[in-house]
């Protein structure tokens, strides 16, 4: 890790850790919990959709799995309020392991077809949530017991839980970039057949990316269910959650460490503002679609890659100009 990178991470996580002590208002923390949740979700999606180049549109299914796991186990009592958080790692691990066969089938297809198959997963999960009434409560939903946290700091445990999951997601994202896994994944993204040909363990790394991505998504779904306290199939397995993750990763820049973070920090507050302003009317969906289209059409590669391209171009131009002024030609490369 470069010094600048380390500094960036320390400042980012340091500021977020201290934030509740400075801005303790409920609405600030409430808004931040959703923002950080989406930062985590977008980073998790990026592991598969960004690094591996497999654009999943079905992550909401795994979000729902985590949400229902927490809601079902803690429907009646949460004890001191902390047990649900302790269960999260187990949920993440179990989802990652159980998703291996699903990922194995889904990743026999590529690009468009993969996106379609994962959308199908989303609808399977929604059908199950609606129809396994004995377990999920069907369309009536299921509630989670209310934790006995003191009123003034009620949001804090949720905030730090989401922050911890975000740190985990970014840690994995960072590790992916630095390790052989990351190199293998970018080979898969560039040309899977060639990668396979030169001996990259294609199936293995794809499944690692899939498992890590959906495991993190399930854990965040668990915290979400506990925080909102009441879940319905439409909201626990929501196509808009999937689309949110994808859009944020696209806006910030896929296959970058900070891209999903930037994307989520821009879009979630915007989303909340729109929901607040137009939530009651139906303009919300139209506005959302419009933003979506504008991002896709103006910044198809995302903010960070666009900026770094510009910088590189400028540096090259400057080097070219210097080389010319020195009467040399070879400098511009």
């Amino acid at each position: 890790m470069t010094a600048a990178g380390l500094l960036r991470a320390v400042i980012f996580f340091g500021a977020l850790t201290l934030l509740p002590f400075v801005f303790g208002e409920q609405w600030v923390l409430n808004s931040l919990i959703f923002t950080l949740m989406y930062v985590g979700l977008a980073s998790a999606w990026n592991l598969l959709g960004g690094y591996a180049g497999y654009p999943s549109l079905g992550h909401a299914a795994f979000f729902g799995v985590g949400a229902y796991a927490i809601a079902i186990v803690f429907e009646n009592s949460v004890g001191s309020g902390y047990p649900p958080f302790f269960l999260l790692p187990l949920i993440g691990l179990a989802t990652a392991l159980l998703s291996v066969p699903i990922g194995w089938v889904a990743m026999r297809t590529r690009a468009d077809v993969f996106a379609i198959v994962t959308i199908t997963l989303l609808f399977i999960a929604q059908t199950l949530a609606f129809n396994l009434r004995a377990v999920t409560g069907g369309a009536q939903g299921i509630s989670v017991a209310v934790p006995p946290f003191p009123v003034e700091t009620y949001n804090w445990p949720f905030y730090y839980a989401v922050l911890a999951l975000l740190a985990l997601a970014m840690g994995i994202s960072f590790y992916f970039r630095r390790s052989k896994i990351g190199l293998s994944l970018s080979a898969v993204r560039a040309d899977e057949d060639k990668a396979h040909g030169v001996g990259v363990r294609v199936t293995g790394v794809k499944l690692i990316a899939f498992g890590a991505s959906v495991g993190l998504t399930a854990m965040l779904g668990g915290v979400w269910a506990y925080y909102v306290g009441f879940i319905y199939p439409q909201f626990a397995v929501d196509p808009l959650v999937t689309i949110g993750m994808v859009l944020m990763a696209f806006l910030g820049g896929r296959a970058t460490l900070w891209g999903p973070v930037i994307g989520a920090f821009i879009l979630v507050p915007a989303q909340q503002y729109f929901a607040y302003e137009f939530g009651a009317s139906h303009v919300y969906l139209v506005a959302y679609a419009a933003i979506f289209l504008i991002i896709m059409l103006l910044l198809p590669r995302g903010i960070l890659p666009t900026i770094s391209d510009r910088l590189r171009m400028r540096r090259r131009r400057r080097q070219g100009a210097q080389a010319k002024s020195h009467g040399a030609i070879g400098g511009a490369k």
């Binding site: 468009d112 199908t120 609808f123 969906l285 419009a290 059409l297 198809p300």
Partner: protein, 296 residues
Amino acid sequence: MPWSLHALVQAVILGVLTGGVYALMASGQTLIFGIMKVVNLAQAAFVVLAAYLTYSLFTLAGIDPFLSILITTPILFAVGVAIQWTLLRVLRPEDAAELSLLVTFAAALGLEGLLELVYNTTFRSIQPGYENFSWTVLGYQVNMVRFFAFLLSLTMLGLLYLILHRTKFGRAVRATVQNPMSAQLLGVNPQRVAALGFGLGAATAAAAGAIFGLISPFNPGSHYDLISRLLTIVVLGGLGSIGGSIIAALVMGVGSAVVAALASPIWSDFAFFVVLLLVLLLRPRGLFGARVRGAI
């Protein structure tokens, strides 16, 4: 047991008739994929839009749903061309495949939002008075609307076949499907073919929407259910193969009707998805799809 045999045959009849409607919807989707390599996630939203147009024409002007197809088809064609021209044409070729998926999804969300603004989220249905009429043939119920819908689907598919195989435009389309580069060298304008092809694909949604509105209640959110079924059908049939998607639509229609009759209607959609996963397990390219490098 004669009773369950009767139920089974009844389910098969219903399934074939419903499958015909799905075949019509899926053929537009397949056509668009074949020409442009774009998976159009807005196809189901087009169908729902057409259902609402038909609904309005019927309630406001009293135009029969089957007759209004003549009016809605050009409208849907124009919507399709407009979306292709403004949103898809501008994508850069290197990221068009991935982005077009998201752009058409955004178009679907936008259409859903607009329909909610105009019609709100109440479920509507088109009721010209004959929607529940059925004939009894050898003891089996044959719903009249579904029967005419099936015939209409066959007619539309036939027309589509004629357009693709007997007109100059169709030849240009097929040439583009086979080899875009050579087609361009022979004087085919790919932008024009893409726009008209997308329009043609969207236009098939007009008839499909009228029928959809007759056989089931709908609201602006109905396109989610519909698109998941359509995608299952086109992937099962093999992306880009119209024949494959017709067979897949019939298989799915019969399969889900049989599951609904023998088990419970709740699980009929589920059967769709399970069949898809099984097929992909054995044959990732779908039943009739050609292997396209990079796509599958």
